[in-house]
Symmetry: C2
């Protein structure tokens, strides 16, 4: 499973070797999380003693995995610390967020700086093993555009829609190639570590690393796109549930005997608060004779109305559109109120097309959520619109991968610590 120079093969390691491995990862992980640090700080963060940190770092320095940062701002008294940071140039992380329409590629260096950020038309998602070839072609293109050598790539993280079992690296709706989990197949094919993740979990992870959920232990990421998704960060970790299916927020019932949902149930949240729902309701109402400038001015037929038209209409003050978005927001707010009551989060992040494009949407959601949740629980909840936009997923899997490369837990044999 381990392929890069970062992590020597661990087939038959003694206890000392494994300890060294843990120490290396402990330091690399600390540098990944906290940025440049002195030996003393590293000792404090990792819980190791200074001599051990010193020795381990000197090995990492020799291997060019860590280097001394240039900027030396010595303001305090005492011997200036010899700072250490990850060597950005030592390797790169590729995060690929494959959506139904577009695929986002993000390359990070080891200092988690964005080296390249590419958006391309998606290869058609399927369970046909042939798509690996197409994916490889795309990756090669993206790498060459960014000027990153294949050999410098430390691993590949892939975010997929539909059902995914991240822990097992198994695609279910897509990338389900039968015999082995997608992670195994891709990992062998590319001869690099591969991490497969569900799109909303990846998004949640991205927000936790780069976005609004930084340093937040309990955050919910709600994505309002064509569908409705939820990624949960609970106790600082992405929550998967027993089988990896947690977060099916779009299909909880909010309208008794409501509209029929494509999942087979009635009155799902997704039938009243999602791009799909807004489009459908707008078309229905217009067909039934509702008058609105988004039809009269743009001369659109009902079939040409989509979420974008509604969002634009709302921005121009179109009552029809505003009402539509407000209704959806209130419903979503009611759904989020349940989440607040159940999970007592510190932060709710709204992502996806609608919250990003329509600033007032957040307010409807917040109002709905506050109205229907208990005060002790909603008192301190913060609401935010994702600042990462459609990059959250790709960023998320990229750092997921980094954490995987520097994973400490798996090396520790104890059941408890």
């Amino acid at each position: 499973m381990r392929h890069t120079s970062l992590t020597p093969r661990s087939d038959k390691m003694g206890k000392v070797d494994r300890k060294n491995q843990i120490r290396r990862n402990l330091i690399l992980r600390a540098l990944l999380d906290y940025g440049p640090k002195s030996l003393t700080d590293l000792a404090k963060i990792t819980g190791m003693t200074l001599p051990v940190v010193s020795r381990t770092v000197s090995v990492l320095r020799r291997e060019k995995l860590v280097i001394e940062p240039r900027e030396k701002d010595t303001v305090q008294a005492g011997r200036p610390p010899s700072m250490v940071k990850l060597n950005g140039k030592a390797g790169f992380l590729l995060g690929i967020d494959i959506g139904r329409l577009f695929t986002n590629f993000i390359i990070l260096d080891l200092e988690t700086r964005i080296v390249s950020d590419t958006r391309r038309k998606s290869i058609p998602l399927s369970n046909d093993i042939g798509i690996i070839d197409e994916l490889e072609k795309e990756i090669k293109v993206v790498l060459s555009l960014a000027g990153v050598e294949w050999s410098k790539l430390l691993g590949i993280g892939i975010s997929l829609p539909g059902m995914v079992k991240g822990k097992e690296g198994l695609g279910e709706t897509y990338f389900n190639f039968g015999d082995a989990p997608a992670r195994e197949i891709l990992s062998r094919r590319f001869d690099k570590p591969v991490h497969i993740e569900h799109d909303l979990e990846a998004m949640a992870f991205g927000e936790r690393w780069f976005g609004a959920a930084k340093d937040v232990k309990n955050a919910l990421c709600v994505n309002v796109g064509w569908g409705l998704g939820l990624g949960m960060i609970l106790d600082g970790k992405v929550f998967y549930g027993e089988e990896g299916y947690a977060g099916e927020f779009g299909h909880i019932q909010v309208v008794r005997n409501g509209e029929l949902c494509y999942c087979g149930k009635r009155g799902c949240l997704e039938t009243v608060a999602s791009g799909r729902a807004i489009t459908k309701i707008a078309r229905d109402r217009i067909t039934k004779g509702a008058s609105t400038i988004i039809v009269s001015e743009h001369k659109l037929t009902p079939d040409e109305i989509d979420t974008e038209a509604v969002v634009k209409g709302a921005a121009r003050g179109d009552e029809f559109s505003i009402e539509l978005l407000e209704d959806a927001g209130r419903y979503l707010g009611a759904g989020i109120a349940m989440l607040i009551n159940l999970l007592n989060p510190a932060l709710v992040i709204l992502g996806g097309g609608i919250p990003t494009a329509a600033p007032s949407f957040l307010e409807s959601v917040r109002a709905g959520a506050k109205k229907q949740s208990l005060v002790p629980l909603n008192r301190n909840v913060k609401f935010a619109v994702s600042s990462l936009g459609n990059k959250a997923g790709a960023l998320g899997v990229a750092v997921y991968l980094a954490e995987d490369l520097f994973d400490v837990q798996r090396l520790n044999p104890s059941a408890y610590v």
Copy 2:
């Protein structure tokens, strides 16, 4: 914070001392979790080497904290292992589940065997510091009834209703004594470690240790008593949420513009599926002229009807009662369906008076839950009625306390491992 002979004062320990402390706790915790084990097994479980386990155990043996179990069933070849187990007589754990009507006291020995199990009328719950005196009196009575010396008590776990911040040992609705968290005050007063826990979290923990949720990583414990409560075990740990308020399941809205709930909202799940709800609905319908044998045969006035009467009626085939319970069950099922969609649990446990007394209730709940949750998520969910009854809470805090006494994490300084 540490008081017993189990855990030496840790004011100023070197790294070696702390390591030894961790090793001790690692072994004690393993014995707590897995029961009697050989040195070799302990080495495997804890990840330590045999010589280290051997030395540590010999110290623990000298301190009489662990002993050799009597039964020696040597069936296999080879030198028979020298088994080790916790010395049950070395100390006792007191778990107190303070309810609004009754208080359950459970004393466990270190082998987590129930030494005594007492149910007494509750002292009135309040924020008056005077109740500590009353509590102490009660504890003294329970201990003397059980023949357990005060000095042998390793600590006290207390489960409380209302709002509680378990991590901080802080009572909010009750046991809120102002200046310091209840844990600190009680701990100083009794000169023993004290653990404060929310009643539903304690119940969840009890189920995880002794009941249906044994070895289950993701389980939900729903308590249907006078109110409606939820304790969640996510990824093997009790989930608290950001501020410790998670699990307010009873106040998520299930009926739009429904009955007014005492929390101020309308249509809360608790207004249709709880002891309070069933009693209210039964009285309302009877007042409005509904005919049922639970009134005609027992000659009860509407005000004398309670949940118990309805449950008994249902057991005797009374259509009125059956329907009432079925409706409540279906509503609860719908609520649980949301939980299943959101959290993808492996197990849902129903506790409290109604599920315990009315066997058919589980079926209504299960049917409702299956109907309104997605198939991939509900396919493998198991439903069970709590087998621990009203003991779950007291058992839960008692072992919570044990885990606390043998806690490894807190001694480990590393941020990662």
